[in-house]
Point group: C2
Chain length 123, copies 2
């Protein structure tokens, strides 16, 4: 049910090829991405900090005003993303409030994993 | 403007005192919190991983189904929180979609800081 608004927007899907850089750390971007198909790695200084699978969300820093990309996103397979800027996010959330929960859950889980990784290294 | 729905809900504010534990790592909780007043530290195994100031959001893992608290939240001053469960989050977002962006921004920024801290330690 919560994916219905995304299906209406499939025409805005942007295909990518294996090896493509979707965004680079330091880029100024104003969109987050929903991974419609394929697999994407989030890299920080050549370290893979996250792997995004189909249905996953990434690039959420794009919704933070004037914030550069905090990491680099590289396609590890062919696939497609849906790009969502602030206005589109607001529109999506109005149509389907559960989408907001989905985004918060995925980003919250990323905080948990980032802190857990960190804890291993400082112990 | 984006804080209007919270003002309507001030009657649900929960006061806390300096030194109170708002939640413990491992607890099962189904709410996130908006810090209405005061200051809260997020601790992971006695390490302070974040400091939350007035207007800040924490405990977002509470919106992830069946996920235990990933860290401990301790009040470092007297203050008050607003507790928001999934239903209340959906209601808030319907009234005020910008609230969803605010939450995503704060949680996204926490990912950035967690990964940046990690990078310092592994370099």
């Amino acid at each position: 049910m919560q994916d219905a608004p995304l299906k209406h927007r499939k025409e805005q899907a942007r295909p990518f090829k294996k090896g493509d850089t979707i965004f680079l750390k330091g880029d100024l971007g104003n969109s987050m991405f929903v991974l419609l198909k394929g697999q994407v790695e989030i890299r920080l200084d050549d370290r893979v900090v996250d792997v995004v699978h189909e249905g996953g969300i990434f690039g959420e820093m794009g919704l933070v005003e004037n914030a550069p990309r905090a990491a680099t996103a590289v396609a590890v397979t062919n696939g497609a993303v849906l790009s969502i800027d602030e206005d589109q996010f607001i529109e999506l959330v109005q149509e389907q409030p559960f989408f907001a929960i989905k985004v918060v859950r995925q980003v919250a889980d990323r905080v948990r994993r980032a802190n857990a990784t960190h804890a291993v290294h400082v112990q």
